[in-house]
């Protein structure tokens, strides 16, 4: 065994301290950088066991270590196409028939990647660069 330290607080030599519970709570529990085109591929990730392609712009990320509940925080990135059509590309939580309860799970998260046109209409899209992260409590 490499060794284990049990402590409630860490303090720097300069006197700044932080509760170890804050470190455990505050670190990202999942993040991913993946390519959604063709056969989707994860470029780099933390706590991801698999990436599933459900259809155009529709992906499920499964966690290696599950979250303790579904009240966690997730966020994905938006992109702006400078080609003049004002298109925004965004990672969003999937919320189709069945609602979030079907797609936001302790073991996985299902997301849509969509673009918004100038009229704010959305279309699912397989984009090359997709980034997202999750913060919350692990089981």
């Amino acid at each position: 065994m490499a060794g284990k330290i049990v402590a409630d607080t860490l303090e720097t030599g300069a006197g700044a301290d932080i509760a170890t519970s804050h470190i455990v709570n505050g670190t990202a529990k999942f993040w991913v950088n993946f390519n959604g085109t063709g056969t989707p591929a994860t470029n780099d990730s933390h706590n991801q066991s698999s990436l599933t392609d459900n259809g155009t712009g529709d992906f499920t990320h499964s966690y290696t270590s599950s979250m303790g509940n579904v009240n966690y925080f997730s966020v994905g990135q938006g992109y702006y196409n400078t080609g003049g059509n004002s298109a925004l590309i965004q990672w969003t939580l999937k919320n189709a028939t069945g609602g979030l309860a079907s797609y936001l799970l302790t073991s996985s998260i299902r997301v849509d990647v969509v673009y918004l046109d100038a009229n704010q209409n959305r279309t699912n899209y397989d984009y090359t660069g997709n980034w997202g992260s999750v913060t919350g409590d692990l089981a």
């Binding site: 490499a2 060794g3 330290i5 049990v6 402590a7 409630d8 607080t9 860490l10 303090e11 720097t12 030599g13 300069a14 301290d17 170890t20 470190i23 455990v24 709570n25 670190t27 990202a28 529990k29 993040w31 991913v32 950088n33 470029n43 780099d44 933390h46 706590n47 270590s65 599950s66 303790g68 966020v75 994905g76 990135q77 938006g78 992109y79 702006y80 196409n81 400078t82 080609g83 003049g84 004002s86 925004l88 590309i89 918004l116 100038a118 009229n119 704010q120 984009y127 090359t128 660069g129 980034w131 997202g132 992260s133 409590d137 692990l138 089981a139």
Partner: protein, 148 residues
């Protein structure tokens, strides 16, 4: 209560691997992987000003709503994440507003390297106006990933 006073945490088996026990106690996870490696809060209006940051060496104002941010300690590759945010102006008829990653007409990312990222602040089109680039006051970016 116990307290550790130190300036540095280093893994014993592997220097870059310090594990933490999960909130529920069912798992362990690598601390370094979960730590945010860079974040910034900057004012993009008028003379650009960084309000506070971690691991940012500079933010450059390229033109209206167009910024390049550079890191003090570089990432190990360009495969890190970025999450950005700004605000919505609710009283001027503009559509949704955000700080986004700048991409080209062929959907390639304009600039993301281990040392820099280019973003663009935009507002979406609405029934009364076209979308466009804009200098917002609060701009937020944070990054997870592997440092070099």
């Amino acid at each position: 209560m116990s307290e550790i006073i130190t300036n540095k945490l280093t893994g014993k088996t592997a220097a870059g691997n310090v594990t933490i026990t999960s909130e529920g106690g069912a798992a362990t996870m690598q601390l370094q992987q979960g730590v945010i490696k860079a974040w910034v809060n900057f004012n993009g209006r008028d003379t650009l000003a960084v309000q506070d940051s971690l691991n940012y060496t500079s933010v450059t104002d390229n033109q209206t709503g167009d910024y390049t941010s550079a890191y003090t300690n570089n990432f190990g590759s360009s495969n890190y994440t970025a999450v950005t945010s700004s605000f919505t102006e609710h009283n001027n008829g503009r559509g949704s507003f955000n700080l986004c990653i700048r991409i080209e007409s062929d959907n390639s990312i304009t600039l993301q390297s281990s040392s820099q990222l280019r973003t663009v602040a935009v507002y979406g089109a609405s029934s009364s106006s076209n979308g466009g680039e804009y200098d917002p006051i609060p701009c937020y970016i944070n990054h997870a990933g592997d440092l070099a």
